[in-house]
Symmetry: C3
């Protein structure tokens, strides 16, 4: 018998959101359907629902990310929760307190939810295993491992524009090796039944044995984009641009930057996605980022709704 | 035909607040009258009105200013808005994202209002031109250009103590050249019909051709303060105190610091203002700052009400 | 006639909370009883009461402490207050503004309460003497002087487990000299009638004439713990570990770290407390920190309720 999935309750409801790997298809679909209802909240005059009123949500960012922290803060506030932002790098960690002592302390303040960003893979799992029943943990990015709300908002966006995953070809392009966004997207896509997921990048930035995840590998971007419905571009971290894995940012753009000529290989109605923040002119041409096939800003809008859905579900709503 | 005022809607209502320059007299008066109603909110047991409930207000501070950020945060919270503080210097900017990409992202999160502080003149204009209808931009200080809510709270304060602008003499003293406070005050005063606005300071700190703004220039503070009703002292930035434009802070105080002897040249009931934070003993003597003619702290109180008024008006309330 | 206690109103109600020294027994008991009611709020589905709705509470942290700031922020939000966090080290202080000018400014924004953390002893007193009637000041730690909410939450915890103070022996162990936690605890314990308070530590870390505070001094921890009901361990600041007052952290643990063998000297049902954050292996063995006698996490939970009680009382609720 396998270890029970730590993300699920005994009756298969969402308890934590740690990774899209192993997340049942039904649950992913339920998250996307719940998000549907929250998309409209963002358009209202009063963008608030009382689902999490009186709940204490802690944004625990051990790694700085104003953008991601902001999306969770907005989502929680629109659910009427009390939000506490903790930039932990600057506090207890520097006083030599252990991660789990920090968690125990905040839990003792009657926390209801931890949103966790950490540079080490597995940090959210460790916390989820440690906290007592009734406290939910949402992984907001752990090392190279997972960024499940990004993966789910990508699924929401694809479903919104393409309706179904069943006949879809999706290409993920760039630094696959270091990307938790790629990993979370691949697991969600294969679970939802997407039959053709391709990863495209230089050999130095593709994990070995990535085919085991159910994807095909392309080093030639022109061929890799042939006939795809969805192009997901990844951010190239600046530390990679002049590192040993790449000759230069310029060279990278030439081979793996998305421009009109390469995008022409995809289907005419293909959509272009990017998790942000973009390096214009490095992984994506400005004209494409702002072009009619780009759905990069709708991704952001849907991201708020998906995070609201996850928060509502892990608190039993 | 001139370009339409980017601050106004087609039917001349306040859409953004970017500068007091060119702001119609009627609108300034409407802001001051709206603020009247909010002054009393600050005295209530429950200091809250629900006008901005469910609105998402982003404090975008590309330049650090806890004091100004706090006034906007309080104003927004007393209007029941959800407030998100973003110190952008420390986040996306450092990831190389462009200003407008940052704005587009936050707008995609269904933002209702951006409060913008930026070291570059024109940043708020740029953002206001860029955002879609329904999102309001309030300039909280851009470079040397404008600080319109400070200008308006100064007008509120003057009107509160002097009732009318029509027979008033107002002196603005100090580093006029680098002061967005001075610029915003001068535009508002002349629009409101103040017949005698004087700027006083050393030649090195007075902009050339400042007379075009409708003010007279004085280098001798004793003569400049003769018979004025209002003295607005400006903060001397510390980087100016020992720079090439001034011999020393001590010398500056001797010539342009406000003390009892110089203040005696003004009318006996003249009021003394300062935007804060003060350098006691540099631009103003401590006894004057705390004296019976000082209205420096009422300026702060009125500032909250004026910011509430502007926020309420740009969101259509 | 003595100077009136600055913490009390004319009719002996709590106006500010600055120190446990001189705080009347009746008031301490009233705080603990009020906290009783708030403990249950933390367990509710909706952890909120409207007592401070529309009040503006300023967390003024001139010294960084995310942990303490968080406890006050949560307490204030559960009372429905609007909370403004100000890390003053990074703002006005750096612009050369004086402490009292900063306070005057925030007070002019219609502040209702200041929570003050400052590295200088007496900062909260200074502020409390300065502010006008209707503004409450709560000391969240000032230099080596006092940390009264910590002292009171320690009393709450002891009363919770031991019911009464009348036959109790309490030992406080470690760096007494630099500890505001020790000082606030000792004053509260003696006021509540605890007959036997012992301080235990090396001679270099015990204040001279500490006996005047009504405690006995022990340098031998084994003898000091003999028969006590409560053991309060103090945090050893890292700057002390290799300083002139101590040979080494290892040596300190050998002599004054709490382990099973030393704890066996206390009563079998003795409780172990620590204000956090802990240095496991320096002042306390991990097994003891997590053991069945440890009430370190309940201290945190009770701390929120005690802070809610103090906030409610100083605002007249």
């Amino acid at each position: 018998m396998l270890t029970a999935n730590p993300q699920l309750t005994a009756d298969k409801k969402l308890k934590h959101l740690l990774t899209t790997e192993g997340l049942p298809k039904k649950l992913i679909e339920q998250i996307l359907e719940t998000a549907d209802q929250f998309v409209s909240v963002g358009d209202r005059e009063v963008k608030k629902v009382p689902l999490l009123r009186g709940k204490s949500v802690f944004n625990l960012f051990f790694e700085n990310s104003t953008r991601t922290r902001t999306t969770f803060e907005i989502a929680a506030k629109r659910l009427s929760a009390d939000v506490i932002n903790l930039n932990i790098g600057a506090s207890s960690a520097s006083k030599g307190e252990s991660l789990l002592d920090t968690i125990d302390n905040l839990a003792a303040m009657n926390a209801d939810m931890f949103i966790v960003r950490h540079s080490q893979s597995g940090a959210s799992h460790l916390i989820a295993q440690h906290v007592k029943a009734g406290i939910a943990v949402i992984n907001a990015g752990d090392g190279r491992h997972a960024h499940p709300t990004q993966g789910l908002l990508d699924m929401y966006t694809i479903r919104h524009y393409k309706k179904s995953f069943h006949n879809l070809s999706v290409a993920i392009v760039g630094d696959i090796l270091h990307s938790r966004v790629a990993r979370s997207g691949i697991h969600a896509l294969t679970t939802l039944g997407c039959p053709d997921v391709r990863v495209i990048g230089p050999a130095t930035l593709i994990p070995s044995e990535v085919e085991r995840m159910g994807v095909s590998v392309h080093h030639d971007m022109h061929r890799g984009l042939e006939g795809v419905d969805v192009v997901i571009m990844l951010r190239l971290q600046s530390e990679r641009m002049s590192g040993p894995l790449l000759p230069s940012a310029h060279e990278f753009f030439k081979n793996y930057g998305l421009n009109a000529e390469k995008l022409a290989r995809a289907k005419p109605d293909a959509i272009v996605m990017h998790p942000g923040p973009m390096n214009r002119g490095v992984e994506i041409e400005s004209g494409i980022a702002d072009g009619c096939q780009s759905v990069i800003l709708p991704q952001v809008t849907f991201g708020i709704a998906v995070r609201m859905a996850v928060m509502a579900m892990v608190t039993g709503n």
